[in-house]
Amino acid sequence: MSARYLVRKLLGACLTILAIVILNFFLFRMMPGSPERVLMRSPVITAEAKAAARARWGLDKPLIPDQLVAYVESTFTGDLGYSFKFRGKPVTDVLLGRLWPTVILIGLAEFFAIIFGLLLGAYAGWRRGSKLDKAGNGFGLVLYSMPYFVIGMPLIIIFAAGLGWFPTSGASTAGATFESGLAQLLDFGRHLALPLITVTLGLIGGYSILMRSSIIETRAEDYITTARAKGLTDGRVMRHHAFPNALLPMVTLIAINLGYVVGGAITAEVVFNWPGIGTLTVDALSARDYPLLQGVFLLLSVCVVLANLVADLIYGFLDPRVHA
């Protein structure tokens, strides 16, 4: 991986993030209603007071470049404005408070989905056309066609409402006191189980389909024929020759996908009322809390850009042909 490649990718990511911040600025300005209009409604406000308020908010300066520059500056210093819904709490604080549940849920789901998805796809593709392939590929396609909440709702009906094995919502039992940290952790685990299964199943579909086509392509390569000609067993050819090479394109695909998962899994959190970024987004949406929505958009877009950057870097590192 050349230094030029690295610099170009880094620069590209920075420019994209800047473009996202600028888009965010204009989205904000597109919205009807402004502090000024609220002030106009009050008959007791004098012209001087209005002018003073405008000066204090910086509304007397032109939209471009002054207001735009001020917005970009404050965004990069971590000031994302104040939430309407949470009574003027800074958006950054609100977001940080909801980050951990989502990170735990998505992180674990990715972990399990990568393992099971890749194995399922690899075995289906290796035995292409077999019963196992047809069942596995069909299973993957059906899961791939299901929005997260469509997976989650039946799980609640069966395992929470029906069998009563797991709670239906939240991340902890309301009002419960725990004797030990372990008991508290167990409670958390019981709440985590169904959302985790939901997101994992949702991810497995895409991963197994991609891995299947990757291994089918690899299977046609000459070095696989060579490995067979050497008299290696089928399982050995698969494990030591086909699987690692088919994994290569998957690494970048998974890295790119990581950035989109949080946005996609919003509905999984909603179904289980999981207290993460997803439920926060929907709450902000129903309260029309625009500053918070913009904060969520910025956070999730930056995740995607960073994930893409990581994917590019891994690709440049793994594939020596990339020099451009």
């Binding site: 929005p147 909440f149 086509s213």
Partner: protein, 323 residues
């Protein structure tokens, strides 16, 4: 290659001996594609499922009568399936079979309109960028890449309420209410980038072909060349892309409606599932409220994906997913 797109039924020419030969040649590509398609079980299954849902969407009232409202509800509260209500009822006593069948119409119309916008914008950008080349191509592809990176779904969540505030919730166009219109617009505006990329790469190779040079030599303008010579040659690709986009559009519409951006007066499947979630149906174990609309969503998205993949393999010369 171009599957008889300019004169599909041969309506323009009274069939003398010479035109017949031309038509035969023209239809050969189409016949070959159809022949290859008829061997694709997955594509045929997808097509079959879609035909059933298309019939339901075109005439829902024929099968289950007019859409039931709170006033015209025919059953009790959250009744399990029975002889009177085969799919049970919702929390307002509406028949679930009625809601599900009418949901087909709303989900499919939104999906169709969103697909038209997505593919139209994507094809326009792709053709113009690919044919023009140079700076315009560069600029358009920058914008396309930017939209490819943006998390579509999250952008849609933010754009929808803003657009709704701007055009007002009471507005209507062709009898479609603002809420649904906003969903259509949002899906269209945020998901054209993939189509643009796919079409552009095809246009790049088509514009090097001899007939484009010939057209230029006899004095055709860029606009005419793009319309008359380039467009018919990417129609195949546009069709395959449209079918795949349709699957995505139904998926996104369902999700947006589920998180509360739908129209309660025009319940799509996502909107019905949103109502089920608000009514606490999962926790109450009211499976009949969830399974019918959820199964429909999965079937339709799956069918479009199967059909789209099959068409893509047959019609897209650059398709990587050869099976």
């Amino acid at each position: 290659m171009s599957a008889a797109t300019t004169d599909p039924a041969g309506v323009n020419g009274p069939a003398g001996p010479a035109p017949v030969v031309i038509h035969r040649q023209r239809f050969r590509g189409l016949r070959e594609s159809l022949g290859r398609f008829s061997t694709r079980t997955d594509g045929l299954v997808g097509l079959g499922i879609l035909l059933v849902f298309a019939v339901l969407a075109i005439a829902p009232a024929l099968f289950v009568g007019p859409l039931e409202t709170v006033v015209t509800a025919t059953g009790g509260v959250l009744e399990p399936p029975s002889m009177a209500h085969v799919f049970g009822t919702d929390e307002m006593g509406r028949d679930m079979l009625n809601l599900t069948v009418h949901g087909a119409r709303i989900s499919m119309i939104i999906g169709l309109l969103a697909t038209v916008i997505t593919v139209a914008v994507g094809a326009l950008v792709g053709i113009v960028a690919g044919y023009s080349g140079g700076r315009l191509d560069n600029a358009l592809m920058r914008v396309t890449d930017f939209f490819l990176v943006l998390p579509t779904f999250v952008l849609a969540i933010i754009l929808a309420p803003i657009l709704l505030d701007i055009i007002g919730p009471e507005a209507e166009l062709f009898g479609i209410r603002a809420t649904l219109l906003v969903i259509v617009l949002v899906i269209g505006l945020t998901s054209w980038a993939t189509t643009a990329r796919v079409i552009r790469s095809q246009v790049l190779s088509i514009k090097e072909r001899m007939f484009v040079d010939r057209a230029r030599v006899i004095g055709s303008g860029s606009g005419r060349i793009m319309r008359v010579h380039i467009l018919p040659n990417v129609v195949n690709l546009i069709i395959a892309q449209a079918v795949l986009t349709f699957a995505f559009a139904v998926f996104v519409e369902t999700t947006l409606a589920f998180i509360g951006l739908g129209d309660p007066f025009a319940p799509s499947w996502g909107q019905v599932l949103n109502a089920a979630q608000s009514a606490g149906a999962p926790g109450l174990g009211a499976w009949w409220y969830i399974v019918p609309p959820a199964a429909c969503v999965v079937l339709v998205v799956l069918a479009f994906t199967l059909l789209g993949n099959a068409l893509d393999d047959i019609l897209n010369p650059k398709s990587g997913s050869r099976r």
